[in-house]
Subunit: 214 residues, 2 copies
């Protein structure tokens, strides 16, 4: 028998698998099947899937069960534009309210991110640094909006960021040298505009960073 797994771990494992597109878009998620992988009952899986549907990583319909979120050009566009809206507003508010701690946190997050990115750009291939980069990228974007003072905006952004990742990882793209070189410049542009508290420039930088997904 599988060595008893804690429920939070099941949630975490399924979340990661969903965000890594290890389930095909629209694929049915049957508690009775997933039950086998983890040593628990189908109801526990159902419970976890209901919670994941709150984030938007899975879709739930009464009497129809669960599915991995659908993917389409329209869906990706929708998610991207919504993310731009939230990230702009969150950053705008942070620039307005954020103090030195916000600036320091943002600079630190960017420094870490930039360090990883230059290393990847040198080699030309993310390789095993992919997970490190993933975390650092997330930290940077959350730092941006962290001083906005709106718990609801942050929570909603958190959900949309997860769905964004889920949609984009399935999109094969060449994570080559050029890709990361471009990303580096874009993150730098966002950082500079944010620290300069230049709303117009910041809005443009955020859009430029995400427009490749439209």
């Amino acid at each position: 028998m599988t060595p008893r797994i804690e429920t939070p771990d099941i949630y975490e494992d399924l979340r990661v698998r969903l965000m890594s597109a290890r389930f095909a878009p629209g694929e049915k998620l049957k508690p009775a099947e997933l039950q086998g992988h983890y040593g628990c009952s189908a109801n526990t899986i159902r419970d976890v899937l209901l919670r994941l549907s709150k984030v938007g990583l899975v879709e739930f319909e009464m009497q129809k069960g669960f599915r991995a979120s659908e993917s389409s050009p329209e869906a990706r566009r929708d998610i991207t534009l919504f993310r731009v809206l939230l990230e702009r507003e969150g950053t705008r508010l942070s620039m307005q309210k954020g103090g030195t701690e916000w600036e320091a946190g943002l600079a630190a997050a960017h420094h870490k991110l930039s360090h990883i990115e230059t290393r990847i750009a040198r080699v030309g291939d993310p390789g095993e640094d992919m997970r490190l980069w993933s975390n650092a990228e997330k930290e940077f974007h959350f730092s941006l909006i962290s001083a906005c003072g709106s718990p609801i905006l942050i929570e909603t952004y958190s959900n949309i960021y997860a769905r964004f990742r889920q949609q984009m990882v399935s999109q094969e793209r060449d994570f080559g040298e050029d890709y990361f070189r471009a990303i580096i410049a874009e993150h730098k542009a966002i950082l500079d505009a944010a620290l300069a508290r230049d709303e117009i420039r910041c809005n443009a930088a955020i859009y430029d960073h995400l427009k490749r997904n439209l």
Copy 2:
């Protein structure tokens, strides 16, 4: 025994009770207690509450159970500002993309709303028209953003609108003659600005309509 109630009805009943603030903010929602009112098992209630937590009407914490959403001046302010953000963006996009059908639907929704509001304002008391007004108000605001072309924005707005209602109904306010006279003017201002496709004016009108909740 209570005459067998369908699960969707339980969901709907709890949703309405939550939005009518029939549970105190932060009040614990115990499946084992609620089970009595409806003729079902505690697990069914748990299921429904998990789904309601997706909308944001109830808060869920692992091993701690469910609570009706907390209420505070900060929470109300947060929700209101977020609603302003979404309603502005949704309306902006609708003004950009919406055609004649959008205009017609919006005009119709406002006509119905305005009819009910003038009747209430004449009497000075909502009375039993309150439910009618509630529905019409909701229809009007959803009409505004209906042509935005973003399913995610509409769904998120739907959630935040429900939470907004939940927060505000508990705020005793005098729904007197003056209140409805003001509301009538505000809705008219939003309608006019939207039909004129005047973004600046529309943003201002939406803010003016909701600023009393800040």
